[in-house]
């Protein structure tokens, strides 16, 4: 790509300064390319290329071992009419819509609360604990907690006039259980990111506002939140993308059950690909997932201009 070539102009012979673009700016643009170079190269080779490979597979019937045969759009037709895939899309969207707002809301609240405190390290460690707890421990403890004769259900049965719920065994509750664990597992990292974002707000800005007489609430709503909004935007985009890719937690907690109530898209893809060696179908499903994710992310970028405050150009 040649980003430094100026737009075609009627007077190509005119001195550079007259074209309205100073030399330092043109040189800067060349540097821009150089700065993104390593990551662009890496993404092309290590992500785009393998993905192009699996895109090709979406049009083939292949089990990884025997001959490959081209089947046109059959894989897409198969997946789009598959009740299991439909169910997994529904489950995944539900998980995203439930966990993202709740998870981010909690994380911002906690980050703001922690920012005010002098002794934060201990709390941060507490909130960070889930991310360093082994997956086996996470699975075991939550399966224990969610048992029909477990602590949570017992407590609920005492408060409400219902039978103790069997969280992971009941198709109506399993998805909620998965959402609870998802929020629990991701909270710590979001708190860390938000704290970093709050710290990124230059103290001079806050100080200036304070001198102008802004109270703590006004400081938060008018200064901190707007300056935090790029980070919050980032977190919401990433949270949506990663909840659309929910896999690990579901895999260890329920493996998609009971009766597909917690089958997510990536779980479906993994099951079809590595559980059944139907790589064509798995690739078709993943391209559909990519499409869904792109639409949602584009929508987020579309609405961001109303909520996200960037430093003006």
């Amino acid at each position: 790509m040649t980003a430094s070539i100026p737009a075609p102009t009627a007077r190509p012979a005119a001195p550079r300064e007259l074209r309205g673009e100073p030399t330092w700016r043109r040189r800067r643009r060349r540097w821009g390319l150089a700065f993104v170079g390593p990551q662009v190269l890496g993404m092309t080779i290590f992500v785009a290329l393998p993905f192009a490979g699996s895109m090709l597979l979406a049009f083939a019937d292949w089990n990884g071992l025997t001959e490959l045969s081209w089947v046109g759009f059959d894989n897409f037709r198969d997946q789009l009419t598959s009740p299991k895939f439909g169910r997994s899309i529904l489950n995944t969207l539900l998980i995203a819509l439930i966990t993202v707002p709740i998870g981010l809301g909690l994380a911002v609240t906690i980050a703001v609360a922690l920012e005010k405190l002098k002794v934060r390290t201990l709390y941060l460690l507490l909130f960070f604990a889930p991310v360093v707890t082994s997956q086996v421990a996470v699975a075991t403890i939550w399966q224990q907690l969610f048992r029909a004769d477990g602590i949570v259900s017992g407590w609920i049965a005492r408060v409400l006039p219902i039978d103790p719920p069997n969280w992971l065994g009941d198709p109506r509750l399993a998805l909620i259980a998965v959402c609870i664990v998802t929020v629990w597992a991701s909270l710590g990292l979001n708190v860390v990111i938000f704290l970093a974002g709050l710290q990124n707000v230059p103290p001079t800005v806050v100080e200036a506002a304070r001198i102008d007489g802004a109270g703590p609430l006004a400081l938060f709503w008018r200064i901190r939140l707007p300056l935090l909004s790029p980070i919050m935007f980032f977190s919401s985009v990433i949270a949506f993308i990663s909840s659309l890719q929910t896999f690990d937690l579901v895999f260890i907690l329920t493996d998609g059950g009971p009766q597909d109530a917690t089958r997510t898209i990536v779980l479906h893809i993994y099951d079809v690909g590595f559980g059944r060696f139907q790589f064509g179908l798995a690739s078709a499903a993943s391209i559909i997932l990519l499409g869904i994710t792109l639409v949602i992310t584009a929508a987020q970028f579309g609405v961001q201009k109303y909520f996200v405050h960037y430093e003006e150009d």
């Binding site: 700065f35 993104v36 290590f46 990111i193 109270g215 990519l290």
Partner: protein, 296 residues
């Protein structure tokens, strides 16, 4: 620009000044809430530690008791001597170290360029980056393995380090957002003083990105440290194995697992991440402490 756009003066004028004498009441409530929430967060971690201190008969007892009785430390030496953990630690630490260093540099450079140096096609390129973030890794496993095998990187740490270092759209996006949240005057001033983009980046932007870089380091470290599927598939030689592979290796041919051993090994394996976290979170919060606003 120092006060966010659209801020009505009334908000400034009528906002009540904070009364510090009354803070303790709210602080008590705050601490109570945080402690309760924090305990819920840390409970499984504590459970992991307690389980690692139990004997096998206790682990199989029903109903499961919370506290180990008798308390045994035997699982630790047994777990650690069952497999070459020393070697795996070394592997995991150096792999994570290289990936963190490489990612911080390349991602912050790319993030800065995307945020502050518009070049032709930069928007489209950035959207392309975001799109790749949306591809679940499980999907590309087989083609990726083929690629690594062509490069001759199967059964080599290169297959884990180089792609992770150079292809992290999440990191680029995060750094771009952090740069965007910096006041534009910072680097504009440097540029007007005649500093080139390289000097502006290293002398002005990078130091101000410290909280973001620390957060990114934590995230990358965690991702790398817990990475399971790719090392599993790509590494064959036991001496190249990373810690998660050993943790999963406690499962027997017929599925039996001694959870006491697994928990002991898991507990030990989290130590480096916790240490890094404590260091990094200090750096995240440091900017506050040195700003004159800290220690109120």
């Amino acid at each position: 620009m120092l006060i966010a756009k659209g801020m009505p003066m009334s908000a400034v004028v009528f906002a009540a000044p904070g009364n510090r004498r009354r803070v303790p009441a709210t602080t008590v409530v705050l601490h109570t809430l945080l402690i309760v929430g924090g305990l819920a967060m840390v409970f499984p971690f504590i459970w992991m530690i307690l389980t690692s201190l139990k004997t096998l008969p206790q682990l199989l007892s029903e109903p499961l008791s919370l506290l180990p009785d008798p308390l045994t430390g035997e699982n630790y030496p047994e777990a650690l001597s069952a497999m070459p953990f020393g070697r795996a630690y070394l592997n995991s630490v150096y792999i994570a170290g290289l990936i963190i260093a490489g990612t911080l540099v390349t991602a912050s450079m790319a993030g800065y360029a995307f945020a502050r140096i518009p070049f032709r096609g930069s928007k489209a390129l950035f959207i392309g980056f975001l799109a790749t973030q949306m591809i679940p890794k499980q999907v590309t496993l087989v083609p990726f393995y083929l690629l690594m095998s062509r490069l001759g990187w199967v059964d080599s740490h290169l297959a884990l380090i180089v792609p992770a270092m150079l292809a992290n759209p999440f990191a680029v996006f995060l750094m771009r957002q952090f740069v965007l949240s910096l006041p534009k005057e910072l680097d504009e001033a440097a540029t007007c003083d005649g500093a080139g983009p390289v000097r502006t980046f290293f002398a002005v932007v990078l130091p101000n990105l410290r909280p973001g870089l620390s957060a990114l380091a934590i995230i990358v470290a965690l991702d790398t440290w817990n990475n399971f599927l790719f090392p599993l598939v790509l590494l064959n030689s036991t001496e190249l194995f990373t810690v998660p592979l050993l943790l999963a290796g406690f499962e027997g041919q017929h599925g039996g697992v001694n959870y006491g051993l697994v928990m002991a090994a898991s507990a030990v394996s989290t130590v480096p991440v916790l240490i890094l976290f404590v260091i990094a979170q200090k750096r995240i919060l440091n900017s506050m402490a040195t700003s004159g606003l800290g220690g109120r």
